[in-house]
């Protein structure tokens, strides 16, 4: 009696000569939760964008509920009962919830908006699923979790029977994730079919009925998920080899305090306090991991530490010297390195050559510049050295940064930030969006810097990464330090601090 809600066969999608999907097969059983697993760049999102009509496949067929369909646009997909919640929310922030929902449907009043009627229906639906969404609130007023619920509500309102969720838990704490999974199970029992795009193995094991693994644009295989499925097995399918979780051993115990943050406070772009009385010490040759759900003040902290944002209170000391509230150049000269969260807009000048990107921060330092002239020869040598040492895959140093893959871009940043002999390294999400191999490399470099005596602050949303690398783990919530935990702490304890539970007798 089982029937397929979706059957995609031999799907090929090409971008500029590169096959993002190469003859991929994918089947979704009705009333099931199906995991789509793969590394970044494996083609998961591309495949789902094809199903949702955002892209058109070059080859292959799609059947929805047994009928072959040509999904030429999202409108068509929606009419077929397909809904999609993207990784980056597709919500216009100054508009209200109901306005965002109305964008996806025909108005019952012709060219006029049917705001009132739609809002009432949304409210009813929200109440039935206990989502607690006010249709008239503006998106920017909602928390990330609420926005996600708006997306799901909107998809269901528009009649979705097949729901595609792209990395939905990336923005949630472990506890929020559990609640979210309960909702998914409820929806499954309502007969809805759900596709969960993810690269987290725990999620596959805990909620998914069946999993399809993609690697390098190709389908590696599908499996029903039962107790016999192990993480190692899935990892091998996903990566094509065993991942090394062994990093070079810690050679030195942390030394004395190098950087001291005392009661740092700061406001965000909207003028709201985003960092409150934050105090933390970084010792020589130590990695302090900073855990927290995105948007809890991590970005503001990094910016305060590197002079990109003024602090509204507190002070910071570097080897006893007060270095509070200076300009960015001051911190650069004091060897405080920064791997920013946003590679594209902050970390690199995308239209600049790679070698020029290496000297971004040294434009007026000898030997790069002499007599106010940039020394081309010196820059060339720097590039040669960096390219071989960091294994940057590029045609030449004159190539523009935008032409590189994410991993190689990050290597350029690493070469610049770590090679400048940093006393402190602030790494904000250094492996986000990188494939497993590149991420592994970045981690090993950070560990190398630590063993060389650099004090590192590692901000990451990847719990596994934090557990592996950190000597201590600090947790931030709502801009406040919730507590500092030793190496080897249980992830659930960290999770509860990430939810705002303060550690008893916290150091802070």
């Amino acid at each position: 009696m089982e029937q397929l809600a979706v059957k995609m066969q031999q799907i090929t999608k090409i971008f500029g000569g590169v096959k993002a999907n190469d003859a991929v097969n994918f089947s979704l059983r009705r009333g099931s939760i199906h995991g789509l697993l793969g590394e970044n760049g494996a083609g998961k999102t591309t495949l789902m964008n094809v199903l949702y009509g955002l892209y058109q496949q070059e080859e292959g067929t799609i059947e929805i509920n047994g009928h072959e369909e040509k999904i030429s646009s999202p409108i068509k997909a929606i009419s077929l009962g397909i809904g999609m919640v993207h990784q980056h929310f597709m919500l216009a922030r100054p508009l209200t919830v109901v306005e965002n929902v109305m964008l996806g449907k025909k108005s019952r009043r012709g060219i006029l908006l049917d705001t009132k009627q739609t809002a009432e229906e949304l409210k009813a639906l929200s109440d039935r699923y206990h989502m607690g969404i006010d249709p008239y609130s503006k998106i920017w007023q909602l928390s990330v979790g609420e926005q996600q619920r708006v997306e799901i509500l909107s998809a269901i309102y528009l009649g979705a029977q097949i729901l595609i969720l792209d990395e939905p838990t990336a923005v949630l704490t472990p506890q929020e994730t559990e609640i979210f999974f309960d909702t998914l199970r409820k929806m499954r029992s309502d007969g809805k079919s759900i596709i969960l795009i993810t690269h987290k193995l725990e999620e596959i094991i805990s909620i998914v009925d069946e999993v399809t693994v993609l690697r390098g644009g190709k389908c590696v295989g599908s499996k029903l998920v039962d107790d016999s499925v192990t993480k190692d097995e899935l990892t091998r399918m996903m990566v094509g080899r065993d991942v090394l979780f062994n990093f070079p051993p810690v050679t030195k115990a942390p030394g004395g305090v190098r950087m001291k943050m005392e009661n740092l406070s700061a406001v965000n772009d909207k003028g709201v306090t985003a960092l409150k009385n934050f105090s933390l010490d970084l010792r020589e040759g130590e990695i302090v991991g900073l855990a927290g759900v995105d948007g809890n003040g991590q970005k503001e902290l990094c910016e305060v530490l590197t002079g990109l944002r003024p602090n509204s209170g507190g002070r910071m000391l570097l080897d006893g010297e007060d270095i509070t509230a200076q300009n960015p150049l001051f911190y650069i000269r004091h060897h405080i390195s920064h791997i920013p969260e946003d590679r594209h807009a902050t970390g690199l000048a995308m239209n600049w050559s790679l070698k020029n990107n290496l000297i971004l921060k040294r434009l007026d330092q000898a030997p790069v510049a002499k007599h106010h002239l940039v020394q081309g020869k010196v820059v060339d040598e720097l590039w040669q050295k960096a390219q071989s040492e960091y294994q940057i895959k590029a045609i030449s140093g004159d190539d523009e940064a935008r032409n590189l893959s994410g991993g190689n871009q990050q290597k350029v940043i690493l070469a610049r930030e770590i090679d400048s002999d940093p006393r402190v390294l602030i790494a904000n999400q250094p492996t986000r969006g990188l494939d497993v191999g590149a991420a592994e490399y970045v981690r090993s470099k950070i560990l190398e810097a630590r063993n060389g005596g650099t004090s590192c602050l590692l901000i990451s949303a990847d719990m596994e990464e934090l557990l592996q690398l950190s000597d201590r783990i600090a947790v931030i919530y709502g801009g406040e330090l919730m507590g500092i935990l030793p190496r080897g702490t249980d992830p659930l304890t960290i999770g509860s601090l990430m939810m705002g539970k303060r550690l008893e007798g916290a150091e802070a």
Binding site: F15, Y52, G53, L54, Y55, S73, P74, I75, K76, I78, M84, H86, H88, F89, M90, L91, A92, R93, P94, L95, E99, N100, M102, L103, G104, S107, I111, L112, L113
Partner: protein, 314 residues
């Protein structure tokens, strides 16, 4: 002369002038609200207005029909702005440069068209422009009549467009789509809205409104065409939109402010105030800068302002 400045007669003619001179700024400003809300900064309004001014004028001169000329002016504005839409939406070039290019091209094209149609002449070609309505005698009401009810029909059309524009933006699906493609084009795209289609429409509507403002100058405010007839009104309209924070109601007040500055300049000159005319002529331009200074910090620009959209790029 200062006693004359404070006389009622002066005030009345000043206010009447304010409304009349607000019109050629109000029309393009309202149009640019659509365009800018959709995320496109069209600095080519100036050239669009110039093209409409010359084409509308030529048609009126040839046919004797003011309405035909007006319609051609609006159509010219719409058609010329297709070029801007093509450059900014389809080719995704830098909008500032595209706008500047549009204006330089229009300067040449307008002069060329005028020369082609009217030849070399010592005196400019003239037409009989739109005349003031008198609204069944309402214009005879002392003072108020002169200020409010003694204008030509295009002035009333411009002011009628204020609530119409507001209604379209706030109450229709089209308005919602315009705001969506300006704020989050990817979201709009994922909901099945054609981002390019809506942006094209927003630019072209903006162009049509600008065309109306441009042709107003040659067949309603003046009765002839000169190459400097627009004189920066297009750029002023763009800054009025920012000043008005992208809402039609505030744009009306912005346009009236500029109308007032222009009218003050005209009235004081007519009076022979002793203030050199060249300095008075600077007034609207200085006011534009001042308005920008006060408005720009507060303005919440659409998130995708001046950013081209491509489905393939993140």
């Amino acid at each position: 002369m200062w006693s004359e400045v404070f006389s009622l007669g002066f005030l009345v003619s000043l206010l009447a002038g304010t409304i009349r001179l607000a019109t050629p700024i109000l029309m393009p400003a309202l149009g640019q609200i659509y365009t800018q809300r959709a995320g496109i900064l069209n600095l080519g309004v100036e050239g669009t207005m110039l093209m409409a001014a010359v084409c509308g004028f030529s048609v009126t001169a040839a046919t004797g029909s003011l309405w035909f000329g007006f319609a051609v002016g609006v159509l010219t504005g719409a058609l010329y702005s297709v070029l801007m839409a093509w450059l900014s939406v389809s080719l995704r070039v830098n909008q500032v440069i595209a706008g500047i290019g549009m204006n330089i091209l229009a300067t040449g094209l307008a002069a060329y068209i005028y020369r082609l149609i009217f030849g070399i002449r010592t005196l400019p070609a003239k037409i009989v422009p739109f005349q003031s309505l008198d609204f069944f005698g309402l214009s005879k009401i002392p003072y108020v009549g002169t200020v409010l009810f003694n204008h030509n029909i295009l002035v009333y059309i411009a002011f009628a467009l204020v609530p119409i524009t507001w209604f379209i933006l706030e109450k229709t699906t089209f308005g919602l789509k315009i705001k969506a493609v300006g704020e989050h084009p990817r979201a709009a795209d994922s909901k099945g809205i054609s981002v390019s289609g809506i942006r094209y429409a927003a630019v072209i509507i903006g162009g049509a409104y600008a065309g109306a403002g441009g042709v107003f100058m040659t067949i309603a405010y003046l009765n002839m065409f000169t190459e400097s007839v627009i004189g920066g009104f297009g750029y002023i309209a763009v800054s009025v939109v920012i000043f008005a924070r992208f809402t039609p109601g505030r744009a009306m007040w912005g346009a009236l402010l500029f109308g007032f500055a222009s009218a003050l300049q005209v009235r004081l000159q007519a009076l022979g105030s002793g203030i050199p005319s060249q300095l008075l002529l600077m007034l609207p331009y200085i006011l534009t800068v001042v308005a920008l200074i006060f408005a720009s910090k507060k303005a919440e620009f659409p998130s995708a302002y001046t950013i081209p959209y491509s489905r393939m790029e993140r």
